[in-house]
Structures are given as structure tokens and as C-alpha cells.
Amino acid sequence: MLVFIIRRLLQSMLALLIMSVLIFAGVFAIGNPIDILINPQADQAEIARATAALGLDQPLWVQYWDFLRNAFSGDLGRSFAYNVPAVQLIFERMPATVELALTAMLMAIVLGIPLGLSAGMKPDSWFSKTIMAGSILGFSLPTFWVGLMLIMVFSVYLGWLPSTGRGHTTLLFGVPVSFLNWDGLMHLLMPALNLALFNLSLLIRLTRAGTREAMLQDYVKFARARGLPMRRIVLVHVLKNIMIPIVTVIGLEFGSLIAFSIITETIFAWPGMGKLLIDSINVLDRPVIVAYVLIIVFMFVIINLAVDLLYSLLDPRVRLTGAQT
């Protein structure tokens, strides 16, 4: 297993290198951050000075080489707009995004799997049909619109929940979190729900499909013949057998929740990484964009690694290396 993990991490280095080249080339192709951030009253001399100070007058490969050299000592550059190290900026905002993503994923799992199971066990009941119809809405309604509707209904008209922002945070092992106090929890509810909707629908449909298939299997028939209660059959045997596709999807979706919660964060003014990314793209703050992408790629690698390790726990037939050990 150790060999497997080490091999996987080495492969990820290659992915990181390729991503960094792509981002550098991409941002260079879009434009020059000086043009966007420069003081309007600046004259040509000031612009030239600013360009040189940021190293943007060098040819692209020189800039990339400087970046690589610094990257090996852990310095991924300093943000042009914020003037703090890019990595520090991202890690400062990471707890907010991770908390939002975890809450959304938790909502999706806690609601989605039971609903999908019950829909799969009685596929022709009206309950099941309602859930399936609801799940279609869940993944076809655009996140942007749902978010605004939630704000209008729950904040403006009903006044039950605060409309935007993060609210009070308390420190948990030095990391600010919102779910430990009431104000923070109220602020967390709507963005998490907005983000969870798509995954909720996905999980419902997946779980239902898996359950329907599993219920027709022989081992279920034999278990029922043995007199096991339905609850045990479903919760212990069926659930374990349908978990592999569900865990895969959860892993993939969790990564994309963290990486691409941009829309929800923008609408709800949630101070997370996604908003940081879109703002940085708009002003071509290249160090932040590069650092963000590299961190996200690394995170995806770790998540996929965890999912693969989870497979071997869930299904004893799965061997990590795939070859004879």
C-alpha cells in the first residue's frame, strides 16, 4: 500500500508541472495585469517602472523559470493585488470554502442516500415518483438562480435567514468555523443548501438505481428467505454493495465542490477560495491563479487517493495495485 501511495504522489507531480505551464501560458495570452491595476493618473514612466518591478517585462520562459525556482522552496509568488504571499491568501480563505463544501456534502449524503434507498425499495410508490421528479429539478435548475430565489424567499420576504456573508465564527483548533455558533449556522444554511442541491439529486438517483439493481440480486432473496429483517438487509448488505459508484461520485463531486463553489460564494458573498479565484482572474493576478490551481490539483489527487483506498476497504476483492501481489 505504501508503494501505491508513493507512486500516486509522484505521478501527481507531473500533473502539477503541466498545470503550472498551462496557467502561465494562459494568463500570459489573456493580458497584462498592469493594464488593469495601474493608477489612471500614471504616466508611461510609472507604467514601465511597475511592469519591471513585477518582473512582467521579462520573456515568459524567464518568468516561468523564476516561478519554478521559488516554487521548490515553497514560495508560489506574491499576489499583485493583495501584496501578500499567494499561498497565505488561499490558506486564509480555505477554511470557509472547505466548511461550506463539507456541510453541503453532508447535507447531500444525509438526505440523498436514505431518500434514494427508500425510492429504490418501492420504485412505483407515489413517494418514490415525487422524489425522482424533485431530483430532476435539483440538477436542472441553475445554481445562480436557485441561490437568488433562496435569498429572496428566506431573507427578503420571510426574514428567517440572513441573506449574505459568513456571520460569527469561533475557533476550532485555531481554524475559524461557523457551525459552532447559532449566528454562523444561520449564515451557513442557505449557501450550503444551494451548493448541496445538485449533489443531492445526483446521489438520490444513483442510490435508487443501485438499490433497484441490488434488490433483484440472489443474495437479497436468500437473506429474506433466511428471515433477516428488511432493515438489516438494506442497511448492511445492500448498502455496502452499492457504495462503490456512490463513493466515486462523492469523491469527484467533493473535489469540484471545493474547487468550483464560485457561483455560490459570489452570490452569498461567502469569503472563500472560489470568490478569490474569480476576482484574481478578473484582474489577472497570476500568482494567485497559479497557486490556486496547483493547490486544487493536489487536493484532487489526495481525494482520488482516498477514494481508491476506500474501495479496498469496501470491497475486499479490489486490490490496490491491480496486479498480482
Binding site: I30, G31, N32, P33, I34, D35, I36, L37, I38, N39, P40, Q41, A42, D43, Q44, A45, E46, I47, A48, R49, A50, A53, L54, R78, S79, F80, A81, Y82, N83, V84, L89, E92, R93, L148, I151, S155, V156, G159, W160, L161, P162, S163, T164, G165, H168, N181, W182, D183, M186, T266, I267, F268, A269, P271, G272, K275, D279, I281, N282, L284
Partner: protein, 536 residues
């Protein structure tokens, strides 16, 4: 201020006798209500604050916060008139020397007094900041020597006579030499170096979320109205309006034009509006024989550049229906423009009137200039920078089509647009500009492009008129304010007659707030907490 009770449908409200839970619940309610005392103000900003260092980057949101914690030698009032700040008076001792006299007894937040040592330090600090994409060095570079005469008097020498110095100094906030020596950006963001002489003291800054300030009772002017001020960052237009409607914030800035009607008609909210300093205009290519993106109707390049003929430029200006643009596209949140600078700005020439909408006159002028059938043109504009920028570009394209100029519209995100525009890839490009004085604006936008003199840095069309350059130079070199204003007005008139640029409109800045608050709306679009007052 009414806050809805969030917990009223809480299923956890204890029905039985569970004391700890009651205490917890009461504490939670107290937290919600307790934080909303009557003298607090919560403002929603429309753009993110990137750094609290007042000398790092000249971004409006950063400077907005800066004005609460710090102060400058000179200030501008809500009509963009220069007024004394920390400096109670200033004069030009001779054409190249300015003398500033400070108020006595101005205190910093840590109790120490603000003296010319701090002023000299603050005027030098922008030159030491490296790695800034858009810093403040341009404002202090004309100063070649700083001479501290005594604790409250300082003399600044310039290399050549420069009349705009007091105006430029309104952009340099004065920091405490003791607190800000060798301060890093992190020191400002954490508050260690945020010691200023402004009406509010720094409390907390959460990146991307909020800035919290508290009133400074030792301020040298009358104390501000609010105990605590919280600035919340909400860049999404609809969410910002929703926050105001839900009561989560007291004030929002940059009200989206689509929400103006609804807020205006509501009895719970008040609007404050002022003509902003931002003018939206078009640059026209006026130096290349074969400018890109201008063709005849069949797509072949023209024999000459039509924009180099003032009749064609005048025709385009006449073909644009500014009142309709303002009323329909901007929904009333703009004022038609003939000047480069807005009505309140120094050097604005009130005698210039926007060209009346005259499509027949435009067609006649085009025919006179040798384009009876018009020509083909591509209009370039950003789509995420100015209010309704892409709609304005499309509307102008349709207006020009009615006089025979067939237009394509090319809009793109600002980040892409700026690079291409500065690279001279467009011939008809939209730009917005805000300046404290007409001569400075004309120097950047219409002065003949010359890097060594610093003229025409933003003159994308490379318009060149030696008479205009001379007038701009004379205006900037005049230290007498009245004479300078007169020369600036003359320069503005010349630029308007010759259509160096085609101005469209001046934007109107709008703030929306709860009915019990009022604001003196500002031309420079700053949202200053100390100028909000409780009202009936």
C-alpha cells in the same frame, strides 16, 4: 432598526424544564439583538478590498477604507472641490515651492500628535513601495525636495511649476511614522500599522468579508455619528440589493440601475444620488492611415482614416442620441456629456453643450467628408467594467447604423480588453475616466503621446494637437487656482471643438439606505461613514 427573530420557528425551543438550553437560547437571541445597537452602521461595498496599506495600490475600495482611518493634507468635498484637510492652509511661496501649514493638535489613534515628520514620511513612502501594479508614486514624484520648516509647516519643492500639487496630495494619506516605519502589508492588514488620524479606529479586517471600525473620540474634528461601522463586501449586484431589502445592511453603494425604480418607490428606503466624476466616452483612432477594424461596406480597407476628419467625428457625435441613452439604457442614472470631466470637477466648462441628436445633420456631414454611404466599423467595449457598458456599446452601434455606418460590436471582459486596447488593436474603443481636474484628465487622454513628458499615457487614439498640449502645459504650470481653472476650461473647449474624444455621459452614483439614514452623495463615489447621518 428592526431585526426579524430568526429563532421563532426553532423546533428546539424547550417545552420542558431545561434551564441550560433556555440560557443558551437567550444568549443566542441576545447575541443577535445585542450586536445591533442603534448607533451602528453596516455598509455593503460593491468591490473587494485587497489591501489596507493606503500607499500600496490605488484601488477605490482600498482608499475608501483608508479615508476612515487616515486623513490627508487636502480633501475634496462632496462636490469634488478641494478643501483643507490636515493642512489648514497652503500657498505657493514661489512657482516651484508650496508651503503647507498643518492644524495644531491633530492626534493619531495611539495618542501621539501628527506633525510634519509624519507628513514627510508619508510623502516619501509611496516611492519606496515595490511590487505595486498601480501605486501612488505618480502623485509624489513631482516633489523633488521636502523641507520641514517647523512642527506644523512643511515646504515642498517641485522641479517645474506644477499647479495640480494640492489636488494630487489629496490622494496621499498620512500615516504615523512611528507605526508605519518598515511596515509590511501584513502589518496593515492586521492593524499594527493602521494608526491614523481619521475619524475611525481600525478593529478587524477579514479578507474578502468585512472591515470593522470603531469611532475615534479624539478626532480633531467633530466626532462622527456612529459608534461602530462595519463594511461588508458584496460584489454581486442582486445580492447586495437583497441584503438591503432583508435588513442585513443599512446602506448599499452602486445600486444596480434595474433596482432604482423599486427602491425609489419604496417608503422604507431612501436614495442619495450625485453626478459622479466618471465620464464614459469613446476613443477614436486618429493617427493611422489604415486603422484596424474600419472598412468600407464591402469589407475592404478605406483609402484614408475617416476619423482624422473632424466632420466625421462630429457626424458620429451628432448621430448618438445621448438623452435616449441616458433615459433608456442607463435608466436615468447618467447625464449627457460634452466635457471630459463631470460638472463639479475643476476645469469643467459649463458653456459646452452636448451635441444635439441630429441624424440628418450627421448624414450631411458624412457626405461632405466623402462618405455618403458611410463605412463599416467595429465598436470595442468591455462588458464587466462600467455600468451597462455592453448595452451602451450595442445601442451606439444601432444609432450609428441609422446614419449609414454599419457597426459590429465586440465586447469582452475588462482584463482582455485593456491589454488589447493599450496594444492599439482597436479603432473605436470605450473608456471611462474619473479625475479631480480637467487638465490632468486631458493630459492623459488627449495630450500628444510622449513617454518622456508623461503625456498621453491613455491617449489610445493618439490624437495630437500642439495647441491643446500647450494649453494643458500652461494650466498645469499655473499655481494660481483661478487662472489655472480658466486655462483648463479653455483647453476643455478646444478638445470639445476638435472632438479629441467623443464623450457620451457622466454617470450618476447612487446609494440606497434605510429611511432613517441620510447621505450627502459624493461626486468621487466614496462611501464615507462619517458623512452618513441619522435622519427622519
Amino acid at each position: 432598526m428592526t431585526r426579524r427573530i430568526y429563532g421563532i420557528l426553532n423546533p428546539l425551543v424547550p417545552r420542558g424544564n431545561c434551564m441550560p438550553f433556555r440560557v443558551f437560547f437567550a444568549a443566542a437571541i441576545a447575541l443577535l439583538f445585542g450586536t445591533a445597537s442603534a448607533a451602528d452602521l453596516t455598509i455593503a461595498l460593491s468591490a473587494d478590498i485587497t489591501s489596507l496599506d493606503p500607499h500600496y495600490v490605488a484601488a477605490q475600495p482600498n482608499i475608501n477604507i483608508g479615508w476612515h482611518v487616515f486623513d490627508a493634507l487636502t480633501r475634496v468635498d462632496e462636490r469634488a472641490r478641494l478643501i483643507p484637510g490636515i493642512a489648514e492652509s497652503w500657498r505657493a511661496v514661489n512657482p516651484t515651492t508650496w508651503e503647507f501649514k498643518l492644524h495644531k493638535g491633530v492626534k493619531f489613534h495611539d495618542g501621539s500628535e501628527l506633525t510634519t515628520e509624519d507628513v514627510a514620511f508619508s510623502l516619501e513612502r509611496p516611492l519606496t513601495i515595490t511590487g505595486s501594479p498601480g501605486g501612488f508614486a505618480v502623485y509624489v514624484r513631482p516633489i523633488v525636495a521636502r523641507e520641514i520648516v517647523d512642527r506644523y509647516t512643511i515646504r515642498l519643492k517641485t522641479a517645474a511649476p506644477y499647479g495640480a500639487l494640492p489636488q494630487d496630495l489629496n490622494s496621499i494619506l498620512i500615516v504615523s511614522k512611528k507605526a508605519a516605519s518598515n511596515a509590511t502589508p501584513a502589518d496593515f492588514d492586521s492593524g499594527r500599522a493602521m494608526i491614523g488620524s481619521g475619524p475611525y479606529k481600525f478593529v478587524r479586517f477579514l479578507h474578502g468579508d468585512r472591515v470593522e471600525l470603531v469611532r475615534f473620540d479624539g478626532h480633531w474634528e467633530a466626532p462622527a455619528a456612529w459608534d461602530k461601522v462595519t463594511f461588508r463586501v458584496m460584489p454581486t449586484d442582486t445580492a447586495r440589493t437583497a441584503a438591503l431589502l432583508a435588513g442585513d445592511v443599512d446602506v448599499i453603494e452602486n445600486v444596480p440601475t434595474a433596482d432604482l425604480a423599486r427602491l425609489r418607490g419604496s417608503p422604507n428606503f431612501r436614495l442619495a444620488q450625485a453626478v459622479s466624476w466618471r465620464t464614459i466616452f469613446f476613443h477614436l483612432d486618429q493617427h493611422r492611415t489604415r486603422p484596424p477594424l474600419i472598412t468600407d461596406k464591402t469589407g475592404r480597407p478605406l483609402a484614408a482614416n475617416p476619423f482624422m476628419d473632424v466632420r466625421v467625428r462630429r457626424a458620429i457625435s451628432k448621430a448618438i442620441n445621448r438623452p435616449a441613452l441616458v433615459e433608456r439604457v442607463m435608466e436615468g442614472a447618467a447625464v449627457p456629456a460634452a466635457n471630459v470631466v463631470a460638472p463639479q470637477i475643476f476645469g469643467h466648462n459649463a458653456e459646452l453643450k452636448p451635441d444635439a441628436y441630429d441624424p440628418d445633420g450627421a448624414k450631411k456631414l458624412l457626405a461632405e467628408a466623402g462618405y455618403p454611404d458611410g463605412f463599416g466599423l467595429t465598436i470595442a467595449a468591455p462588458n464587466n467594467r462600467y455600468v451597462n457598458d455592453d448595452q451602451v456599446a450595442q445601442t451606439v452601434a444601432q444609432m450609428l447604423a441609422r446614419v449609414g455606418i454599419r457597426c459590429r460590436v465586440d465586447t469582452m471582459p475588462f482584463s482582455v480588453y485593456m491589454t488589447k486596447a493599450r496594444d492599439q488593436q482597436f479603432s473605436f474603443a470605450m473608456l471611462g475616466w474619473g479625475s479631480y481636474s480637467a487638465d490632468l484628465a486631458l493630459r492623459s487622454l488627449a495630450g500628444t503621446f510622449s513617454p518622456d513628458k508623461g503625456y498621453g499615457a491613455w491617449n489610445w487614439g493618439r490624437y495630437s494637437n500642439p495647441d491643446l498640449d500647450r494649453l494643458i502645459g500652461r494650466a498645469l504650470g499655473t499655481v494660481d487656482e483661478k487662472k489655472r481653472a480658466a486655462i483648463a476650461r479653455e483647453a476643455g473647449a478646444l478638445a470639445a471643438r476638435d472632438l479629441a474624444i467623443i464623450p457620451l455621459y457622466h454617470q450618476i452614483a447612487t446609494w440606497a439606505m434605510k429611511k432613517n439614514i441620510s447621505y450627502i452623495a459624493r461626486t468621487d463615489e466614496f462611501t464615507l461613514a462619517h458623512q452618513f447621518r441619522p435622519a427622519q
